[in-house]
Amino acid sequence: MKKILLAEDEAVLRMLVVDTLEDEGYEVVEAADGQEALDLFNPGEFDLLILDYMMPIFSGLDVIKKIRSTENGSRVKILMLSAKSQQNEQDRILEAGADYFMSKPFSPIKLIERVEEIIDEA
């Protein structure tokens, strides 16, 4: 079973993503903020990281930077969910090391397709 780490401070959205992905048979580990995500992150354990941008303590961007700077963190796939949909924000996110970007609001169906793609790729 493919394992996904989800960091999202909004409980409702967390529920949306978790429900959507779990229905498709993924195992989803939840984190409510950036710190928690980093604590839970274990290189090799997760097939995908789904991060929110705006989170308390560490933002999604901080989390990416931190993970990418660790030895084994550079290979894990990262999908960023953000309400900041401006092009320059997207660029910043991709520059920081995210592999994919989806803007909020997002379609759960599309999210599934996307996640499948990413995991197949890997």
Partner: protein, 958 residues
């Protein structure tokens, strides 16, 4: 003969002739004497040479013998044949010298030279003595010379020495003889000179006698003639020299003079007459000159006056110069000028008190007469004491009043008064002075114009300096014409004085140094060119200052003067505030959009799941509930935004009532606590009086905002304490959290619109940046205050205060709050088929103190109303299908006498207000509306009806 004639004719010739002879004679005598002297000298030298020659010969002979004798004696023992021959050869030498001595000089015979004696001894010595001596030596007879030979030799040597001495004596005598001759010659020369001088003196005396005597006679005669006496003039017709001629000429002259004198006397008389005439002419000229000088002085004074009034534009200065110059021109002792309509004057020779006295009476008395007549006049008066000085008799002073008329309207604009002691002003003078006043009037006009233009200029400059923008004016060639104060301030360190002398490139590069944008100079040039082309779009740009990061907008405009481009005006406008507000707004829009996206994402996401997936019923419900609450969140956000909009535009209205804040807090806490597991909210109330005058809905909004803020900014959870208490004037609420705390520098900005604390901790927490500014705004409307005390990392305490109210003064009719309404029990019936809305309305009206009954079925409701008529009815128009609709219910009620006065509040999604009101609706609320609005309008209607004595059906009465 001819020469003699020549000499007799002229004195100069005579003198030349005599001097010629004397000098010739003198030269001849001198030459003769020199010749004799020379002869003597030559003879002396010759003799001397002879003597010296012979003496030398004698000395040589003597020496030779001496050598011979010495050789003979010293070598007597070692005589050799060589020696012998050498000794013998001496004889020849001596013989030669003796012969030379014998040849006597022709001219002179030297005494004492006895050649015979030498020859005799030589013969003896060389023939007898020497050979015998040598022979003896050869024979070894080494004896001395014999006595005889010795004697002979001695004798010879003595006589030789005598001879040499004699000759030396002759040399001395010879010198003595020469000096004696020389002395004779010198004496002869002196005698010759004396004789010559004597002769010369005689000759000169003779000549002068010949000239002097007749001249003296002439002089005497001339003197006599000059003295006017008759004189005998001696003539020397026999003399052919100048004197002879002179005497004849002199005589002729005298006779001519005598004739001429007669003429002269006659002429002289004539001249005397002419002289008298000339004298008279000169006197006349003198007089004219005097007048001219006087005129010149007058003109000088006039030109000083003109000069004084034309060289300055300073009023005070000009007035002073007018008075002092006019005093000179009018020969006055004191004077004054005063402008009638301005408080300006100048005086000369007048005391300060006098001047003030005059000024205070400027429009009365004599001045009044002057103003009316516009004609100069003179007043004669007795001198006052100060003018009189030491004079005892009565003296008079004259005051001249002169008006100055404006050039345009010929009105008196200034008055001049001049005083003269003792002698009056003539009419001619006054006329002259009146002409001068015209000049003065012109200069006063000029000053007025100048002052007016100065004033206008200064107003312009003031305007320029007052506007907020930095303004600079340049001409066509980009010379800086004017720069206002603000521009200097914008560019702090620009020296105010220098700038106008800067060239354009100096100026712009100086500005460039202070500006972040490197393109500044280029942009400015472009903007100016664009302005000159009339391209307004391109004549503006924005730059930022280095020093304080202010954002400045520049725009340039062409200045057109009389149809021609005159320059460019460059305006630097500080748009930092607008710029910041703009930035804040766009940040706000992006924040709002972000905030909206999160709930929107939930709504859309769950909806999508519901639509596309087969889900279990409980999951469906869960999702629907979520969608509902997220949608509510969305609408709250939108409301925040709208609130701010309303507040900003001043459209927000407040319905203030007496409300109890305690239950409000309870509701708010209940609502918030549901949303969190990590926060514990505690309410403590230390006062009995918890009522304030306020808009319940808004107050609840404040509390919700403050509490949700406290939760939001303590992301790790913790306790939140809400404490209600009072002091003398206020009801106070502390909301204390244990969250992040607020940085000190942020506290003053906390209640500003769009402000969000700019650090990562806070940034990560979403928000519109509006909550607290809404709170502050509402608190202000309620005459309350909100303050914050915070410690970073430890939490914050927000303190709200509201003015306390006095219960005893409460007007019951105006305070139908919850407590009061309980005793009245107004019934309200709601007919609404939308259950959630019905519930919402039910909650609202119940919390406002009404007794509420809800119906979703029209018929059932009608039955209930008929059975128990309520105080008000809330009616939805569109009810479920196959049901009677709202309109039907309304018609039925309005036709019933009993029920038609029940106020009906229509609550409909359709805007059919006209129909509603025509059927007799009390109010028409278009969905969606705020439930509180409903309770408000019901409350209002019931209160009004109660006041008018209309239907008020308290529950108890039924």
């Amino acid at each position: 003969m001819k020469l003699n004639d020549q000499i007799k004719k002229s004195f100069s010739n005579q003198i030349v002739y005599l001097f010629g002879i004397s000098i010739s004679f003198f030269i001849l005598g001198t030459i003769l004497l020199f010749y004799i002297q020379n002869e003597l000298n030559d003879k002396y030298i010759e003799e001397r040479e002879q003597i010296v020659y012979e003496r030398n010969l004698l000395i040589k002979i003597n020496d030779l013998y001496d050598t011979t004798f010495i050789d003979m004696l010293s070598y007597s023992e070692l005589i050799t044949p060589q020696m012998e021959s050498k000794l013998l050869s001496q004889e020849e030498e001596i013989e030669k010298l003796t012969t030379a001595l014998e040849i006597p000089l022709e001219t002179y015979k030297v005494d004492g030279v006895n050649t015979d004696m030498i020859r005799e001894f030589s013969a003896d010595f060389f023939t007898v003595l020497l050979p015998s001596y040598l022979a003896r030596n050869e024979n070894g007879d080494n004896q001395q010379l014999d006595e005889f030979s010795n004697e002979q030799i001695e004798k010879f040597r003595e006589s030789m020495l005598n001879s040499i001495m004699l000759v030396g004596k002759q040399l001395e005598n010879n010198v003595k003889k020469l000096s004696v001759y020389t002395t004779y010659i010198q004496i002869a020369f002196i005698v010759f000179i004396l004789i010559f001088l004597f002769v010369l003196q005689r000759i000169i005396k003779r000549i002068f006698k010949n000239i002097g005597e007749p001249l003296a006679k002439f002089a005497f005669a001339a003197n006599e003639i000059a003295a006017g006496r008759d004189a005998v003039i001696q003539t020397y017709p026999e003399r052919k020299d100048e004197l002879g001629l002179l005497s004849i000429a002199f005589q002729k002259m005298v006779s001519t003079l005598q004739v001429k004198e007669q003429d002269l006397i006659a002429h002289n008389e004539e001249l005397l007459a002419q002289q008298d005439e000339l004298q008279a002419g000169q006197d006349q000229l003198q007089e004219t000159l005097g007048t001219l000088l006087e005129n010149e002085k007058k003109l000088t004074n006039h030109s000083a006056l003109i000069n004084g009034i034309s060289t300055s534009l300073d009023k005070k200065e000009v007035l002073n110069s007018i008075v002092s110059n006019m005093c000179k021109i009018t020969f006055s002792d004191s004077g004054m000028i005063a402008l009638l309509y301005e408080n300006s004057y100048a005086s000369s020779g007048v005391s300060e008190t006098g001047a003030r006295q005059f000024i205070s009476n400027l429009h009365s008395g004599l001045n009044q007469r002057l103003i009316e007549t516009k004609k100069a006049f003179v007043i004669k008066r007795e001198q006052d004491i100060s003018e009189k000085g030491y004079h005892e008799a009565i003296n008079y002073s004259y005051d001249l009043y002169l008006p100055i008329l404006t050039t345009t309207s010929q009105k008196v604009e200034a008055i001049m008064v001049y005083s003269r002691f003792g002698y009056p002003y003539t009419d001619k003078e006054i006329e002259e002075y009146e002409t001068l006043t015209k000049q003065i009037a012109i200069s006063l006009d000029k000053i007025k114009l100048y002052e007016r233009s100065e004033e206008a200029r200064s107003i312009n400059q003031d305007i320029l300096n007052t506007v907020q923008e930095g303004i600079q004016l340049i001409d066509q060639n980009r010379n800086i014409i004017q720069v206002n104060h603000q521009l200097y301030e914008m560019f702090d360190s620009l020296g105010e004085e220098d700038v106008l002398s800067f060239s354009w490139s100096q100026w712009s590069s100086k500005l460039g140094e202070k500006i972040k944008d490197k393109q500044f100079i280029f942009n400015l040039d472009e903007a100016i060119s664009a302005a000159l082309r009339g391209n307004d779009e391109k004549s503006t740009f924005i730059y930022q200052l280095k020093e304080n990061s202010h954002v400045i907008q520049v725009y340039c405009k062409k200045i057109v003067n009389e149809g021609k481009a005159a320059g460019t005006i460059i305006v630097h406008r500080d748009i930092t505030k607008e710029f910041e507000v703009d930035q804040m707004k766009s940040e706000f829009v992006s924040t709002v959009s972000h905030e909206l996206r999160t709930p929107l994402a939930s709504v859309l996401g769950f909806t999508e799941l519901l639509l596309h997936k087969e889900l279990k019923p409980e999951r469906k419900t869960k999702y629907l509930n979520t969608i509902y609450s997220e949608a509510k969140r969305l609408s709250a956000l939108i409301n925040d935004f709208l609130d701010i909009q309303r507040m900003e535009s001043g459209k927000q209205s407040y319905e203030k009532k007496y409300i109890d804040i305690r239950p409000i807090w309870e509701t708010v806490i209940e609502n918030q606590q549901v949303q969190t597991l990590i926060h514990q909210i505690h309410l403590s109330v230390d006062t009995e009086q918890t009522r304030i005058l306020g808009d319940k809905e808004k107050i609840q909004q404040i509390f919700t905002n403050v509490l949700s803020n406290a939760m939001k900014y303590s992301p790790k959870g913790g306790n939140i304490y809400i404490h209600l208490y009072e002091n003398e004037h206020s009801l106070i609420i502390d909301v204390k959290d244990e969250g992040l705390g607020i940085p000190k520098e942020s506290i003053p900005h906390l209640f500003e619109k769009f402000y969000r604390i700019d650090n990562t901790d806070h940034r990560q927490i979403g928000g519109t940046g509006l909550g607290l500014s809404i709170v502050a705004e509402i608190v202000k409307i309620h005459d309350g205050t909100i303050t914050v005390d915070s410690q970073i990392g430890e939490g914050s305490t927000f303190t709200l205060t509201f003015p306390k109210i006095n219960i005893k003064k409460e007007d019951k009719q105006f305070a139908p709050d919850k407590d009061n309404s309980l005793s009245i029990h107004h019934d309200v019936v709601i007919i609404e088929d939308d259950l959630s809305l019905a519930d919402l309305l039910f909650q609202e009206l119940t919390s406002s103190g009404f007794q509420v009954s809800c119906f979703n079925n029209g018929q059932a409701a009608l039955n209930h109303i008929k059975a128990s008529p309520p105080d008000a009815l809330v009616l939805d128009i569109k009810l479920e299908e196959n049901e009677i609709d709202g309109w039907t219910i309304m018609n039925e009620l309005k036709q019933d006498e009993q029920l038609k006065q029940i106020p009906i509040f229509i609550s409909s999604a359709f805007d059919e207000q006209e129909r509603g009101y025509s059927l007799g609706a009390q109010d028409f609320l278009v969905k969606p509306y705020s439930p509180s609005k409903l309770s408000k309008v019901i409350m209002q209607t019931l209160l009004e009806n109660g006041k008018q004595g209309q239907i008020m059906i308290p529950k108890q009465e039924e």
